[in-house]
Symmetry: C2
Subunit: 124 residues, 2 copies
């Protein structure tokens, strides 16, 4: 469960200009879509929010499992998807695995969707 | 293809506090995951970026189709997924359908992933 075992997107993902600035290339779209796909599941989104809301601190997998009625293996699967998408990372210590968010990767996805510079045009 | 034909998430989606602020509820996670799932495909992400990079203006479906080697029906399917997720909207005028982004929905997803307030802790 260490970062060596499963290849994940590094937390040095380049930040992307907002969608409103320029059209995406094929390669960039593929990398970013992988992150959004991992977020496209309610359980994974809740898991990520449980980890992220620790304000930079890590969370034991035992606490995450307790927050759901799902089985341990199901939770572990969803955590693996989030990790392989580069959104979280983890370390095993003794019996338990501890998780934390990868701020740079989340920031890159957030920045891409930042349309605050876009004009909200009135539509028919 | 008018907004009456396919139920879509309204563009008044409430903004969500960033993940780092608090854990998501089941209901909020389900609504947000639908948006991220729509973004979890490279073709849809490129389509959205082509529409968004018009800086608030609309884009004819004919231009979008020209930008890909995919068939018209495939492009239309991806546009429908984006629309049903509330990320874009459209209007048919004569032969063509015109698309534009829904800034409020994109902003809600962006804000959720904004971890700029999170502490990037050094990890082992």
């Amino acid at each position: 469960m260490s970062r060596q075992e499963v290849p994940a997107i590094p937390d040095t993902s380049p930040c992307c200009p907002p969608l409103v600035d320029e059209a995406l290339t094929d390669e960039t779209a593929a990398t970013l879509a992988r992150g959004f796909k991992a977020l496209g599941d309610p359980v994974r989104l809740r898991l990520l929010s449980l980890i992220a809301s620790r304000a930079g601190d890590e969370v034991c997998v035992c606490e995450l499992t307790d927050a759901f009625t799902l089985t341990g293996p199901t939770i572990s699967h969803h955590l693996k998807v989030l990790r392989e998408a580069g959104l979280i990372d983890c370390q095993r210590r003794g019996t338990w695995v501890y998780y934390w968010i990868v701020p740079a990767r989340l920031a890159a996805l957030s920045q891409l969707l930042d349309v605050s510079g876009a004009t909200a045009t009135a539509r028919p």
